[in-house]
Homo-oligomer: 376 residues x 2
């Protein structure tokens, strides 16, 4: 079997409002983040299957004959037996996988599940991501979505959406749901038992995704390491310590998510005004205070807020907090933020509300990304 | 009639938690502030009645014969006719009184109400206050309480509580209530229509006052001027704009006041531990965030919080916010705060939970205060 080459990308995700509150049954507002993961699938004719993940220094090739011994029938639910065989195959024994091992495992699992019952193609998959890994920005979900879309396309389970006269192509709702279900298998392997939110977000028009106007943001990684588990536990402790003080704060966060969703929906229907931005900024400030109240702030995030406030911009943490990443809303015309790089932070000027998973003509992808992907 | 000399002091007040929320029906926690107003009453024999208020550069003397023309019968409710006559007498025509005119008006009103129906004494009242005026620290209430206590003592309506073997003397509950009712008349003249909270607070054992352990605090005046009226309106606007976001925040503030009250009461009954301080500090931090959320923060107050946080201390605004004063809890052994004076702020290291109105032997009053009072 020979597959057709293809080029696919999927966005990251950012939580606008409701991180932590979502753990306690409140609404969270997550949006697609236009830092993307790009996957190039290229047919080979030498009977090898290769994966190149330069972000995490992972480059592996197998003989098709090796992989054929691991084949399984197609399964929609995670085939625990196959995962076990794959772990043994790649020589992983402990429970906690590093990012390289879990990425390989997800790749092999989806590859074998989709091709294993028939003619297995010789191919190379190369992936390059603009997303920092492990920063709560959905990099592993974007990877799984790209893998699922590429292999489903290669097997003919979903069509190639690219029209000759267009730079990019997107799938219909039904196809997106199929991509999502397979991507979710990859996520389960990488994360254990994810909520499924990350994938769903990457597939536009899913009920969990609200229509969001394309808004410029600054994403800042303070590079302060933190443990999501520890932070979630800290919030829980604080709620137990001061329930009457904290539960109303979660209610307020819930109302912030709902109010923000309403404003964003309005912004997709009517001309965007300064008032829309004023409200979005006020909600960002309020929620950042609430996140400090529930105990997930950090001096590095205070610094982010101060530096951007000095330019009239409004920031909040996004994700787990306690360091990690912050998001700053950029009004049209807002300048760049050299000051933040002076703090030692990584910054990306990007946008939210961009397209979900899509197929590309190579010419529609930034040159420097194609340059990385074409190396392999 | 000749009166006996006396020396009286009353404390200021500070709001620990619940400023602004109290406007919306929530609990506020106000405590006595050990920055005090001192009043010295001295008999004269020259038929003059004099008042000296060096804090506000006010020094006035009248002939008893002038005042006798203004006499009224004793009244517990504010005698609008007398106030009208007094305004005319001191030559005030517009509605908004300056602090000098309102202090004189309150003095004359209480003097004439209490002495007017009988033999009017010739005397000098001199007042010196450690409290900044107009900073929301109850300076006018402390003044009214001192006036009422001094004149009620002079008329024999309440006893002289000073025992020979004690430095200070305090009145019983019944006498305190009489002082309070007269002080309230003075407050009404000064403020128009006060809530009565300020006075009640100055009189210990009143239902509105909780038992508070003596706690060291730092009181900081940012000297940023603000209008309470404008700030109250701003909060109301924000609640109307985002009701579902803001109403839970007020509920949380209410719970902070109740939780703090509970902890303070515990601290009066059991040995004070570091855990008590930890909780008080956490509540201060949370409420300061909430006050920012409801829109009454100010960069000068952020600076206060930052400078004190750098020393491991926790601060919040007290009163109207938008500048004005902040309060910092000082743990035992906490040092002085030169850094704040470097910001251009006024700082007082004082305490909360100190005694209410009391009578003094001169030797129990700080020398520098006696020196000011004895000048007149």
């Amino acid at each position: 079997m020979e597959v057709r080459d293809c080029l696919i990308s999927a966005p990251g995700k950012a939580i606008l409002h409701g991180e932590h509150a979502v753990v306690h049954g409140k609404v969270a507002l997550a949006v697609s983040l236009n830092l993307r993961t790009y996957l190039k699938l290229k047919a080979r004719s030498d009977g090898k299957v290769c994966i190149n993940l330069p972000n995490i220094d992972t480059f592996v090739c197998w003989e098709l004959s090796e992989l054929k011994q691991l084949t399984s029938s197609k399964l929609q639910r995670l085939d625990a037996e196959l995962v076990k065989r794959l772990r043994k195959f790649i020589g992983v024994t402990n429970e906690n996988l590093d990012s390289s091992a879990s990425a390989i495992l997800a790749f092999l699992y989806i590859y074998l599940s989709l091709f294993g019952s028939g003619d297995m193609p010789s191919l190379t998959v190369s992936v390059w991501s603009e997303l920092p890994t492990g920063a709560g920005l959905g990099s592993s979900a974007a990877y799984s979505v790209c893998l699922a879309a590429a292999f489903l396309c290669a097997t003919g389970n979903i069509p190639t959406p690219l029209k000759e006269w267009e730079q990019t192509g997107r799938w219909c709702q039904e196809d997106l749901e199929l991509i999502n279900s397979w991507a979710f298998q990859g996520e389960k392997i990488i994360h254990g038992n994810p909520s499924g939110v990350d994938n769903a977000l990457l597939l536009e028009n899913h009920p969990l995704i609200i229509r969001v106007p394309l808004l410029r943001i600054l994403l800042t990684n303070t590079k302060v390491p933190r443990s999501t588990k520890v932070l979630v536990a800290r919030v829980k402790d604080k709620i137990n310590k001061f329930p009457s003080v904290m539960i109303p704060v979660l209610d307020s966060v819930d109302a912030i998510s709902c109010t923000c969703e309403k404003v964003l929906t309005e912004m997709t229907c009517e001309p965007i005004t300064g008032d829309h931005y004023n409200i979005l900024e006020e909600l960002i400030d309020i929620n950042q205070h609430h996140l400090n109240v529930i105990g997930v702030g950090h001096p590095s995030l205070d610094m982010l807020c101060q530096v951007t406030a000095a330019r009239g911009l409004h920031s909040k943490l996004t994700g787990a907090g306690g360091g990690g990443c912050g998001i700053t809303l950029l009004r049209p015309g807002a300048g760049t933020m050299k000051d933040l790089r002076d703090c030692g932070y990584d910054c990306w000027e990007t946008s939210i509300g961009g397209p979900g998973v899509q197929q590309h003509f190579p010419s529609s992808v930034k040159e420097e990304i194609m340059e990385v992907l074409n190396r392999y």
